[in-house]
Symmetry: C2
Subunit: 152 residues, 2 copies
């Protein structure tokens, strides 16, 4: 699975900054730090891993609520997604473009890919309609093995 380039990472961070600016969302230092930790990791990150990194960066120990609050902010605004199946967080590489994101998670190398194609989205929404159900939030996480790991 292809990892993200530095350019992609910086673009993503820049994009989020712009969105926050134009929407008057307070991208405070901590929120920014948490976001950077998540996107730069390039793999799903755990809340307590973020907590450790934040503590290191700022040279003083932080507490869980600090991190969870930042994560909440980032999720609310579509900059980060939670992978429920592995209690981890990942950056969104097309913030605001998709409300819903679907993921492929490689169990071996732990790298993930977003797979938000419309046909899948359509299929899910048709399923909901068929059951008279109004969607507020969808979790689709496909675990397995990516091409690289499968060939090894």
């Amino acid at each position: 699975m292809k990892t993200k380039s530095t350019t992609e990472l910086n673009d993503t961070i820049y994009k989020v900054e712009q969105i926050c600016k134009s929407n008057k969302l307070g991208l405070t230092q901590i929120r920014r730090q948490v976001f950077e930790i998540i996107v730069k990791n390039n793999k799903p990150v755990k809340a307590y891993e973020i907590l450790d990194e934040i503590s290191n960066i700022n040279d003083k120990s932080s507490h869980p609520p600090t991190v969870y609050r930042a994560i909440d902010f980032l999720i609310e605004n579509g900059f980060v997604h939670k992978l429920n199946s592995i209690n981890s967080y990942v950056g969104c590489f097309h913030p605001k473009a998709n409300k819903e994101c679907y993921f492929l998670i490689c169990k071996k190398c732990n790298i993930y890919q977003e797979c938000c194609d419309d046909s899948l989205k359509d299929r899910i929404s048709k399923t909901a309609v068929h059951h008279n159900f109004v969607i507020s939030n969808t979790t689709l996480e496909i675990e397995g093995h990516c091409l690289d790991c499968n060939q090894k």
Copy 2:
């Protein structure tokens, strides 16, 4: 959302008993109790709720591993599914028929429905193929509101 009838519940329990018998799976007392608690609740159940009920039934306090081990057995054999988005467990009403199950979960009344249609399954598997990905496990949980709750 329609709840399950007593007949359906009993059928499900009976079916699981038969599957265990013919596959030489030890459906021990605790495993059976945990399964019954899950299916009879008719809504997603939390591990510690099960723990309480088990303790009541058996008139002595049980410990978390007892419940989690039973859950593991039931999940491994396809009798129960975990809803990762809400850390809860639900019974499967067509055990063994589907390896993967997809769910609609009403945030208001907390009732859930399975929605394992083939077209959805196909779409997901096509998505995986398209990304050169081999699926081992899929989590699809659609949260929102069911017809009844929406009309209120």
